[in-house]
Every structure is written in C-alpha cells, then in structure tokens.
C-alpha cells in the first residue's frame, strides 16, 4: 500500500538471473527474480535455494531480503538472512554500494544483516547473491492426526527433544484441516483436532532412521492416524493441503485476515485456546496454521469486508492475537513484516527508547524519510495516542 503522494518504484522487471556458480554454490540475481526461479535455475546443478515462502511462485528475492522471509524449511535451513552472501544496494542519495562479499565475513558493521528485514526503509536492493544448497537425496513426510492440539504440541516438543531437526514441521487446527481437505483432497483426517506434517530430509539412511523415530514419537503421543509418504508424488500431495490452506479458507469466507505472530513452541495449545475464546468474543471464525518448528503462527480470521462492523471486529481480533503473542514471550511478526498494519502493535513489543533507536537507524540511512514513508517503524506521536487508548482486552 503506497503512500498517496509517493512514486512507486517497480523492480519486478529486473528479473534476470545473472550467474549460477555451481562450484561456489551461489547465484547472483537481479532483485525481481522470483524465489522459485532461483531453485529452478539451480536444479540443473543438483542445488536449490533454501528459504521457500509459500508465496514463492510470485515473491521476488528483493522482497525476500526486505522482509527476511522464511518458509516451511527455515527451522533447518534458516531465513533469508542466513542464506545471503552479498547485497548490492542504492542508498537514498542514489549511490551504489555492496554489502557482504564473496566470503562469510565483512570488514565493518554487518549492514547486510541490518538491511535484511528492514522493509525497504534503508535502501533499494539492486542485486543479491545467495547461497545454494545441495538438493537432499531423499525427503519424506510423516503426517499424523491428533485428538487435541495439546497432544500434537507435545509431540512437536518430543521430536525436538529427541535431537531431530526436521526439514519442515507444520501444524493445522480442525478448521484448517477441513478447509484444506475440501480444497485439495490430500487425504487429511477430517475428524482430527490437529494435524502435523513432518518432513525429514537427508541421505537415504538418515531419512529412514528419522522417519522411524518420528513415527514412534507420534504414536507414543496418541496419534489417531498416521501416514508416511512413499514417493515424491505422495509427499507433494500431503503438502498440497497445507500449501493451499490460504485459498482454501478463501472459499469459506468472503475475506480473511492473516496474522503472523511468533510464540514459544510450548505455548501453542494455550495460545490456540485463547484464540478460540477470542473467536467467540468477536463472533468471527478463525482457522490456524502454524509453522510449529519455529513457533510462527498464522491465524486466519474470517470476515466479510462488505460489513464494516465485521471488518472492525476482525482488526481488533487480530490486534488481540498479536498482543497475546507478545504476552507469552513472542513477537508481533515472524515473517510478514510490520508495514502499516502492525504499527500500532510495535509499542507493545518495544519501549519508547527502543523505538527512538529504530528512528535513529532510519535517519542514518534516510534522513529525509523518503523510502517507504510511514511504514515499519511508528512515528512516536502515533504510539502515544495508541497507548492512551483504553486496554481493550485482558489475558484472563
């Protein structure tokens, strides 16, 4: 959503893959190259690009750098910031500089880390060099249904405690399971209260060893149904339901509002219980998909934007979820960024001095506040007004 008086700078036509270096395992890209196109170009060399946001067919590497995007594989393979080597940037003065380099360390401050996730507020990314990973020999998915969110949450903890870092570990609640199954016919157990999808990758021996261990853990935690993919087609089918969860919810409701809080994994059943109370309070349905491996929760609040009251309730519901995430020790955004929408929640995560520090950083790069004005970091006057509002809920 651009500022009404701003000029839009579209970078999507800068979409050339400049170089893939299979020996150094890197790819040099213009900022408009889509995330998926990187892995497609690297595939010829048995390599791929790790972070895989669900939006990967459409989102650009420049946008990924700006948002520090993750994906279902980020517990094991990291976020965008872990997979970058070098970023070429234009400053607001129009001067070009290269952050990072060919090696893993740079001489001064790590400006590449600072720019990653800065929502386009510090500069314009004009070229990106990413690290590529060898494609795993084998990947398999274990799918399990559970009778309660708590049992599924405990099973997630037990997998981590067993020393296994799955390539992906996703959870869905009952409403999300049903919607996804109706949409994708992936064979999900529609009666389950929670579903886990656990992807294990690596060498053939390692995957066999880990599939067995994870299957045992899921059974010990009372899985009501269990299925292990036997080939890549079945694996793709099991993922299809999860990956189409958003459009599937889109069929149940005129509109939905996707939240993005991150919470400590152990809090998931508590947080989902609170969300269902809020759902009753605001009289709006909410389906939950959860990057369970890394604690990133995506509640999808269903509403009808034709009804202004519903829109207002959805926004308050969303704000309550974010404040709940902070209250249990998490944060307001795991991967979608603050933008305009979450500006009001920034003061629930940060003190005034911290917000001032952010402002000073912005000033160091963009003193006239030219880039993406009004986004990412709240203007302090606005937070004071928001803080002054009566508290709209309590976490009882």
């Amino acid at each position: 959503m651009p500022h009404p008086e701003s000029v839009l700078l579209g970078l999507s036509k800068l979409n050339n893959i400049l170089e893939v270096d299979p020996k150094a395992r890197t790819a040099r890209l213009q900022p408009g190259v889509t995330n998926l196109a990187i892995s497609e170009a690297a595939a010829a060399h048995g390599l791929y690009y790790g972070p895989d946001p669900s939006s990967q067919i459409a989102c650009s590497i420049g946008g990924n750098v700006a948002e520090n995007s993750g994906g279902v594989h980020c517990l094991k393979y990291g976020l965008t910031v872990h997979n970058l080597l070098c970023v070429e940037m234009l400053t607001v003065e129009g001067e070009r500089t290269t952050l990072g380099g060919g090696g893993l360390d740079s001489p001064g401050y790590d400006l590449m880390a600072l720019v990653t996730g800065s929502e386009g507020l510090l500069g314009i990314v004009t070229e990106v060099t990413v690290k590529l990973l060898p494609c795993p020999e084998v990947a398999r998915v274990v799918m399990a249904g559970f009778d309660s969110v708590r049992a599924a949450g405990d099973a997630v903890g037990a997998v981590i405690a067993a020393g296994i870092i799955p390539a992906g570990l996703e959870m869905m609640d009952a409403l999300a399971i049903q919607a996804a199954e109706d949409f994708a016919q992936a064979g999900y157990p529609k009666e389950a209260q929670a579903l886990l999808l656990c992807e294990l990758d690596g060498t053939a021996e390692e995957v066999d060893q880990h599939v067995e261990a994870v299957t045992n853990i899921f059974n010990q935690h009372g899985a009501s149904s269990l299925r292990v993919s036997s080939d890549d087609a079945e694996r793709a089918l099991l993922w299809k339901g999860r990956k189409s969860a958003f459009p599937a919810i889109g069929r149940l409701s005129a509109d939905y509002y996707c939240m993005d809080g991150t919470i400590p994994r152990s809090q998931v059943s508590h947080v989902l219980e609170e969300i269902s109370k809020l759902s009753a309070k605001y009289q709006l349905r909410c389906a939950n998909v959860f990057h369970a491996g890394d604690g990133n929760l995506h509640p999808l609040i269903m509403f009808d934007s034709g009804d202004p009251q519903q829109l207002a309730r959805a926004e308050r519901f969303g704000a309550d979820i974010l404040e709940l995430s902070v209250a249990v020790g998490g944060c307001i955004t795991g991967e979608h960024g603050v933008g305009l929408e979450k500006l009001n929640q920034m003061p629930s995560q940060f003190s005034e001095a911290e917000l001032h520090q952010f402002e000073d950083i912005k000033h160091a790069f963009d003193p006239a506040l030219t880039l993406n004005p009004g986004k990412g970091i709240p203007i302090l006057k606005r937070c004071q007004e928001y803080r002054a509002l009566p508290r709209r809920h309590s976490h009882d």
Binding site: T26, V81, G101, I160, E206, D208, G293, A353, G376
Partner: protein, 344 residues
C-alpha cells in the same frame, strides 16, 4: 531490572556526561585480536555480569548474561544433549558470550552451522546514551523492527554494551567421524568444493600441514555410510578443537596473522605457511596476499601494527553509512572508540 544492570548503565551515562570514553570488556581474551588497539584508560568490566538466565531445551533457546563464559554455556547445553552451533573459541575458559558476539567469532563449522551472527535471536544492550534496550527476542523468527541483535556481531562493542544474549541452539550430533588424507593445498580446495556440493552430512573441511581433514556429523547411519564412500584415514577429532580454540601449532607463533574471507573457489595462495578452513572460505595467512580476490575481505587478525587500520577498507558510501550508524547508537563516541576503524 537488576541493580547490576542499572549500575552498568549508570557507568555509561557518567562516561557520556564527562565525555570520557570506555573500553568494554568481558574475559579480555580478544583485546589484541580482531580490531585495533583501543587506547582508552577507563574500562567497563562486564565479566561479573554473568549467568544463564533462561534455558528451555525444547525451544532450542538459551539466554545468558554477557559475562557468562562460553564453557559454562557449553556444559549446561551438553547436559541436555545440545550445543552452541557456532563452536566459538573458549580461550582457556576465559571467553564470554558477550565478547564472542561482539567479535563474531565462530569455529570450523561456519559454512554449515553458521556463526554467532546466525544463531543470535535477541540482545539486551546499553547504547552510548546509557539506555537499556532490548531487541529481537527468544523466538526463532522475528521481523519486527530492525535486526539490531545481528548488527552487534562483529561490531566489537562500538555500538553498545551487550548485556544479555538470546541464542538458538542445536542438538549435539549423534555421531561424528573425521577423515584425513595427504594433499597439496590446491587439491584440497578442489576436493572441498566437490564434497561440499554433495548432499552429505559434512560439517567441517580444512587443510593444514599438508593434510585435508573432513568432518562428518549427524545421524549415525548417514555419517557411517558417507565415511565409507569418501574414504581416507579415520582420525580423532582433535583438529577441530584445535582450530576452534586456535591452539593448533599453526597459530602458536605470535607473528602477524591475516584472515582472508573469500569464495571457496578463489585460487590458492602460494605461501608455504597457510591454513585453509571453512571449506575454503577462510584462509589464514602469515603475510598479506599479493592481490585480494574479487569480493574477498582481508583482516589483520592478530599481531603486527595494531595502531593502523587492521580491517579491510570500506568504500566511501559505506564509510559514511557506518559512521552515521555509529552516531545513531553512540552519539558521544564513548564506546570503544577507534577499535574497529581509526575514524570510528
């Protein structure tokens, strides 16, 4: 907020008030490493601000005050079968977690397991105005606000006094095998790139004293099977600890030690005395190379003249940005002045 923390903040406020710079230190193991000599008389010792403040093995997250020795963290983690992924040097038990973050030091697993820059989730720090600030958090993903935590990695304490650090940790590998073979450094580099391109559990690749060493770590079945395919002599894993703590005989002489961060495919130096680590991405040299490969950065890690610049030159644009960033955190320039660059 503890009294000790308030006292640290008060020291910074006082330093700002009388415009007297501070040299911040923990175990003081890195005073002569990484950066320039910081000739500042007043010191701020944070080594007593220590202790693990929070550890939940199932969340893969540990938090500790900055003065906590690395060895203390490692033993607490080992009890739960976990580790610091970035294998930092322990410098005989003296190195602290705060100093490790400030120096961004990491061990031989760097290309595969990351550095502390990759593991840090959040920090509490005191900026140059004496304000106690928290950034990031104890969760794996967090994109609210700028990533100030990661910015501390390698800043050598010039942006703030690091007080507490939250880190992502990993399970200890089930099995680990080290393979060794005699090669020239050129051959070693070619082999390292070849092996690193394969989907196998490689977590270390170095060359020193005429030998290539490869470390396989992870699920026992995968480690064993890969070791059989790749071949070579099976040796104990002492080499990795020697690289991590820099206790290997290569590092013993106190002469100039240069660190070149480069692509693994950059040509090999013809210097006799060199050590190649990080699968070719890190080259330790005793004299600066005649030419620096494209995109590479050179740092005088230890020894030599530490009154001049020891870090690679920045272009004018970055020099301006970095200086403004320094001012944004430390307007009075009281935190470790000149430690990173003479002009900073």
């Amino acid at each position: 907020m503890t009294d000790a923390l308030q006292q640290l903040a008060a020291r910074v406020c006082a330093a700002k008030a009388d415009a007297t710079p501070l040299y911040v230190h923990g175990g003081n193991t890195k005073k002569h490493l990484l950066g320039r000599t910081c000739s500042v008389e007043r010191t701020l010792d944070i080594s007593k601000y220590r202790g693990i403040s929070h550890y939940q093995p199932q969340e893969l997250v540990i938090s500790a005050r900055a003065g906590t020795p690395i060895s203390e963290l490692e033993s607490a983690l080992a009890e739960q079968g976990q580790m610091l992924p970035f294998e930092p040097p322990r410098y005989a038990g003296q190195a602290t977690i705060g100093g490790t973050l400030a120096g961004n030091l990491s061990g031989p697993g760097r290309p595969w397991l990351g550095s502390i820059r990759d593991s840090v989730l959040g920090v509490q720090l005191i900026n140059g105005s004496g304000q106690i600030l928290e950034f990031g958090g104890k969760v794996m993903k967090n994109v609210a606000g700028y990533d100030v935590s990661r910015l501390q990695a390698g800043a050598l304490g010039t942006l703030g006094v690091i007080c507490e650090v939250h880190l992502k940790v990993l399970p200890l590998p089930e099995a680990s095998v080290t393979l060794a073979r005699d090669t020239s450094p050129d051959e070693a580099l070619a082999l390292m790139t070849n092996y690193a391109g394969q989907p196998k559990p490689l977590t270390g690749a170095c060359w020193v004293n005429g030998k290539l060493y490869l470390r396989l770590a992870g699920a026992a079945s995968a480690v064993e099977h890969t070791a059989q395919i790749w071949g070579g002599d099976r040796v104990d894993g002492a080499i990795w600890t020697q690289l991590q703590d820099m206790t290997h005989s290569f590092f013993t002489p106190s002469a100039e030690l240069w660190r070149l961060a480069t692509t693994p495919t950059a040509p090999c130096s013809d210097q006799a005395d060199q050590c190649i680590d990080w699968g070719g991405s890190q080259r330790w040299l005793r004299t600066p190379p005649a030419s620096i490969p494209q995109g590479a950065h050179l740092n005088l890690f230890s020894g030599g003249d530490r009154q001049t610049e020891v870090r690679g030159k920045l272009d004018q644009v970055q020099q301006t940005l970095q200086l403004r960033l320094k001012k944004a955190f430390d307007p009075a320039g009281i935190l470790n002045p000149g430690r990173l660059y003479s002009w900073m």
